[in-house]
């Protein structure tokens, strides 16, 4: 096995439960973003664009979509003879009765020591599949080497009033870290960890082995970083000043998508030398028909628009029929909006048909009754593979999941804050 100077480990096992029905059958990193992409495309593209050609993707929660999406890594040029992309799932090891699940971020890496050792790397880059950003990891590696670090942690300056929501790095003047505080009530600094770490592998390897003897849920933020600080290792904060978005909640997910439709969006997709790659099976152009209106929106391959679309994000193969109106919404792959339907401030997951004349997203902003902490900003969400019958009216903060029929809508209405869930689901 060829030795690698640096390899990446991408933690893609999380559910992202605050994305509600969107992550019912899909791990968060596989959720679509910006029409044609999936969240994991961003760290994967960053890796190859930074010259990192060996990436282990650690999966656990609902990995099917991720496995299909990543395959052997062709879209990211990660199909390699040496290195390339490897999907790492929890497994039973020889001599064990039962295998172990990944119990924490560092524990997940600990379970894959053998995989990493095969490449005998000098450094490992730890990433998560939860964020939208473009970052040159090779510059971070230079910084790590220049400061002779054991660990380098990418940080973002956040407003002080929000700092208590993050893992905060307390640093000296030269950004050397002396303390890490997870969600501090009274933050001393506003440097928030982005969950992106470079470790010198030899040091991390030792720390993982020792910490996993003590903590079965070994975690980078909770255990490994504090342990390294306590051991007197050199840790530095690496400042990142560009676009970085956590798309962890329904509202932030919606916002991050809507930023893309601005005339000059903050996040630039058009960078020739830092492309974001994704898997596309079929890449036809899109067609805009006679009488259609498509404004302040982005649309992906294979879309056909005959109706009106304003301020929206359309994924691949979306069909908007005549007389339909879509506003302030995100439509993922293969969604059909039938004639005369109105969709207002909704997120509609893949493979959906919205019936003729149906109206979605009307009425008052009443939080969802079942999950008020998830659906509360007026956005109605339709889960994947659902059906919305003709002519029904659906309010705000509603959740629709499964093949619903007219009987599920008393008087043809689902009021704001109500849900229709047709299959056993954890919502």
């Amino acid at each position: 096995m060829e030795k690698k100077e640096i390899m990446a480990l991408l933690l893609a096992g999380g559910q992202g439960s605050r994305l509600g029905i969107l992550t019912k059958n899909t791990a968060k990193p596989a959720v679509r973003y910006g029409g044609k992409y999936r969240i994991i495309d961003f760290p994967l593209s960053n890796c190859i664009n930074s010259g990192i050609d060996t990436v282990g993707v650690l999966t656990q929660y609902q990995p099917l979509m991720l496995n299909q999406h990543i395959g052997i890594g062709i879209p990211w040029d990660l199909d390699r003879k040496s290195g390339g992309v490897t999907i790492l799932a929890p497994h039973v090891k020889g001599g064990e009765e039962m295998g172990d699940w990944f119990m924490g971020t560092a524990n997940a890496i600990y379970h894959n020591l053998e995989y990493i050792d095969r490449y005998d790397p000098e450094y490992v880059l730890i990433l998560s599949g939860d964020h939208i950003y473009k970052m040159d990891y090779s510059k971070m590696l230079e910084f790590h080497k220049a400061n002779n670090c054991t660990a380098t942690i990418a940080v973002l300056e956040v407003p002080f009033e929000e700092a208590s929501r993050f893992g905060i790095m307390n640093t000296l003047d030269d950004d050397k870290i002396y303390e890490f505080e997870e969600k501090p009530a009274n933050p001393k600094s506003n440097l928030a960890s982005m969950g992106i770490y470079i470790f010198t592998w030899k040091k991390l390897r030792e720390a993982l082995i020792e910490d996993n003897k003590v903590h079965s849920n070994s975690d980078f933020g909770m255990h490994i970083i504090p342990k390294m600080l306590a051991d007197g290792e050199t840790l530095y904060a690496y400042r990142f000043n560009d676009y970085w978005k956590d798309v962890g909640t329904i509202e932030s997910y919606w916002q991050a998508n809507m930023e893309l439709i601005k005339t000059v969006p903050e996040f630039n997709f058009y960078d020739k030398f830092w492309k974001i790659y994704t898997k596309t099976d079929n890449q036809p152009p899109q067609y805009v028909g006679r009488g259609a209106k498509l404004q302040q929106s982005i649309a992906s391959e294979g879309c056909e628009v005959y109706g009106e679309v304003h301020s929206s994000v359309l994924g691949p193969d979306v069909l908007i029929k005549k007389g339909a109106v879509v506003r302030d919404s995100i439509l993922m792959e293969n969604v059909v909006i039938e004639e005369g339907a109105v969709v207002d401030r909704c997120i509609i997951d893949r493979n959906n048909i919205i019936g003729k004349g149906a109206v979605l997203g009307e009425g008052e902003n009443i939080p969802n009754e079942l999950k008020p902490n998830i659906y509360n900003t007026g956005i109605t969400v339709v889960g994947e593979n659902s059906v919305i019958p003709d002519g029904v009216h659906i309010g705000k903060n509603c959740v629709i999941y499964g093949k619903t029929s007219v009987e599920d809508y008393p008087n043809g209405v689902v009021a704001s804050g109500k849900s229709v869930i047709k299959e056993e689901s954890r919502l």
Partner: protein
């Protein structure tokens, strides 16, 4: 029924397509907003189970090589079989351009000799269609044919640029005329053939030794009585993107028709092409697009009507694009008018300028030109 494929992409089409092929082979002509002409025969072959394909190039092959070099997009990056791209080369005893279509296959005869598939499917690289070659091969076998020519009945059109064939009731070809002044019938050869591999090797060795180099003239026409040549009727969509500028224009405009578009983009097998990883297209505040095909990565601010925009084009504020084809990377500034035009790759129309052609003869603007 196993077969290898040969795609003839070497024709010099400068006469027919003018400036559009100054930098590219006809087989590399951009089609339908996302594709190149060769994607259509290539996908037809792979979807018909043909896993070993030779593309024979000659003129301006750079763009074609660039398109084909990583053959994995057609699932042809294989140890067994895969994609072979042949260009003319020099050797100890031979240094020549291909002297004709038959010669271009003959000079790469090892490709056929090192295969063991019983049949060969030959197709031209600049036609737009979707064909199931399995059916053609089955037909070829059932007829006991030496050579099967795929044809299409084309009516109400000038056939003088095509090969026109006559058949008896059994579909056996009795006459074949290349570019006839007075065509008899309307059965047009699509330049697509099925032939036994060993028979093809024998025929090529025989005619080349006699100093004959052209597949149509020296095999199809000259040997039409000696060989059992049959016609196979294809009644699907077919157009030669490389036949002329007006045919090229029509081929692209055909994609605005739902049936044609659906055939290639919504019905499997989908047409495979090299991915360019462009972001979604963007329609800004005052965008006004109607009856048009829009490629990925395009940004529209003005009006686009009845046009085909390839990838990564930019349309400025208040600009008007009508009845036009804009290839990849075109930039149209504010307040421009582009009508009845074909803009080759990376053409820039600066603010306020107009490019207007005639309805029946679109104006062609050369690659990289700035207006």
């Amino acid at each position: 029924m196993k077969a290898v494929g040969i795609i003839l992409a070497g024709g010099n089409s400068e006469m027919r397509l003018g400036d559009l092929t100054a930098f590219r082979a006809a087989a590399a002509m951009p089609v339908g907003g996302s594709y190149r002409a060769i994607d259509f025969p290539l996908t037809s072959m792979t979807a018909s189970g043909i896993g070993k394909i030779a593309v024979i190039t000659q003129y301006n092959s750079r763009s074609l090589h660039d398109h084909l070099v990583s053959s994995k997009w057609w699932d042809l990056g294989r140890k067994k079989g895969g994609l072979f791209v042949f260009s003319p080369y020099t050797s100890m005893d031979n240094s020549s351009w291909f002297r004709g279509t038959a010669d271009s296959i003959y000079q790469n005869l090892t490709f056929l000799q090192r295969s063991n598939e019983p049949y060969v499917v030959i197709a031209s690289g600049d036609s737009v269609y979707k064909m199931n070659f399995k059916k053609v091969i089955e037909y070829h076998v059932a007829k006991g044919a030496d050579l099967t020519i795929v044809y299409k009945n084309i009516e109400n059109e000038d056939l003088s640029k095509y090969g026109v064939m006559q058949m008896d009731e059994d579909k056996r070809v009795i006459d074949f005329e290349e570019k006839p002044l007075e065509p008899v019938g309307h059965s047009v050869s699509l330049g697509t053939y099925v032939i036994g591999r060993e028979m093809l090797i024998d025929l090529l060795e025989t005619i080349i030794a006699e100093g004959r180099y052209d597949f149509v003239r020296d095999i199809v026409i000259r040997l039409r009585k000696k060989l059992k040549i049959y016609g196979y009727e294809f009644d699907g969509y077919w157009r030669s993107a490389g036949a002329s500028i007006s045919e090229y224009y029509r081929t692209n405009m055909d994609f605005l028709d739902k049936d044609v578009r659906d055939l290639f983009t919504k019905q499997e097998p989908y047409i495979d092409t090299k991915p360019k990883d462009e972001p979604p297209a963007k329609y800004n505040m005052n965008a006004d697009v109607e009856d048009s095909l829009i490629g990925s990565g395009t940004i529209v601010n003005g009006r686009v009507e009845h046009s085909v925009l390839f990838r990564r084009t930019f349309i400025g504020d208040r600009a008007v694009i009508k009845n036009s084809i804009l290839m990849e990377g075109c930039y149209i500034g504010n307040d421009c008018v582009v009508e009845n035009a074909i803009l080759d790759k990376n053409v820039v129309v600066t603010e306020g300028k107009s490019v207007i052609g005639l309805a029946d003869t679109p104006l062609v603007v050369k690659k990289n030109d700035v207006i």
